[in-house]
Symmetry: C2
Subunit: 252 residues, 2 copies
């Protein structure tokens, strides 16, 4: 499944009251975005929803239908507020069942006195799910249809992605080049606009920065076509030089 | 406008390709969440969308109808990828017009050679908008109906919120108390579940942590009713002590 521009796209549903209360700063979006980019998949939208079944079901159903892949993070631990697996089962119209291999892993990992019913509940998945390994704390994530259900703890989420990578069929990865410009955004906006108009195959983004007492602009050119990316970047450098603005490629 | 539980709620639309590409880590969600909490408003959902008009319009229209307030961050600068004001105007069915007071401020702030058409475009708002002051770099945010349109640069967004605060009619602010528990989530899950069941007026969230070689659990109790919060917290401490688990209140 790819979109009208031939891109393979993904959505992300971040589940957790702790993000919406401001207690926790989400770090999974940025990591997943870069991971997907390397896999040739574009993260197109993110929703942060509370630990409320109806909200999770709605977000999962909207996003899984729009994108080749949907990821969720959070809510797969052992406590009463961990309701993601049940909500995803409901969204997909599948029963929530004990996954024998997940159960076996938890059984092997926890000594008897720590093998609580709450922990064993982490072996429940929507029927037909394939496990996603958790090399850190055992309790697995899973994939069912095009939905990947991952942990919320960043280190565990990141480790799970190692197992996800071979399952993704991406398009061409997006490359980017960044030009640091010694001028404010408003001083170069017209030039950027002209360069963007000449190069439809690239996305030109501009971001203000403040450094050593000066306002400047980082201009990021992105494309899944390396040749066109380089062409647009050269044109950008040329156009800004013509305007009399100093530039330098970041990391270049 | 408040929800079925009498809470005043809000949504947030974060606009920007740079968040979805992983180039930039969003910091506005956590800040806005805490700001709203102090104002007695609950942030209930967040959507991150790209710099695409149709996506912004859809997110704005869905969220502004569900919540007392909707906030947007990002996309109000001078460049071609700054399309938030136009998209919000479209979502609300209002023309985008030059705001005279915004124009006056930009005119006063920028010397003539920097008064580019791109910069003056930052004075365009949906018709009928009230300005939100920007004490840092002048170009204002705005409020129209229940939608607050703010800058994406965190320092500017935060400064704009000072002007937003008096315009919000919140409910009771939510307070929280946190108990650090020397046991894994799975060891205390049943107890937390029982305490939650006895105290419907509070939200009990649990978050694993790893510190000095030990797994522990932070249990956060939240409520807009201070008395019930304290009752639930005491019950939680008692129930965990009865289970033989060591606890200490964070900051307590």
């Amino acid at each position: 499944m790819s979109d009208a521009q031939g891109r393979v796209t993904a959505g992300l549903v971040v589940i957790g009251n702790e993000i919406l209360s401001g207690r926790t700063q989400d770090a999974n979006t940025a990591y997943l975005a870069r991971f997907l980019n390397d896999a040739g998949v574009r993260l197109m939208e993110v929703r942060v929803v509370p630990d409320v079944e109806a909200d999770i079901v709605e977000a999962v159903n909207q996003l899984r239908r729009r994108h080749a892949y949907l990821f969720t993070t959070g809510g797969i631990g052992p406590t009463h507020d961990d309701i993601t697996s049940a909500a995803v089962a409901k969204a997909l119209g599948r029963p929530l069942t004990r996954h024998p291999e997940a159960e076996r892993r938890l059984f092997a990992y926890y000594p008897e006195e720590r093998r609580t019913p709450a922990r064993m509940k982490m072996a429940d998945t929507p029927e037909g799910a394939d496990l996603v390994d958790n090399p850190i704390s055992t309790a697995p994530g899973f994939r069912v249809e095009n939905v990947f259900v991952l942990a919320g703890v960043p280190k565990i989420m990141q480790a799970m992605l190692d197992g996800v990578r071979p399952l993704l069929k991406g398009g061409r990865p997006v490359s980017s080049r960044t030009l640091k410009v010694e001028a404010g955004e408003g001083d170069v906006a017209a030039t950027l606009s002209e360069v963007q108009a000449r190069h439809g195959a690239v996305d030109i983004g501009s971001y203000p920065f403040f450094q050593q007492g000066l306002f400047g602009t980082s201009v990021v050119v992105r494309s899944d076509d390396g040749t066109r990316l380089d062409e647009a970047f050269l044109d950008l450098e040329r156009a800004l030089a013509e305007q009399g603005v100093a530039t330098a490629e970041e990391g270049g």
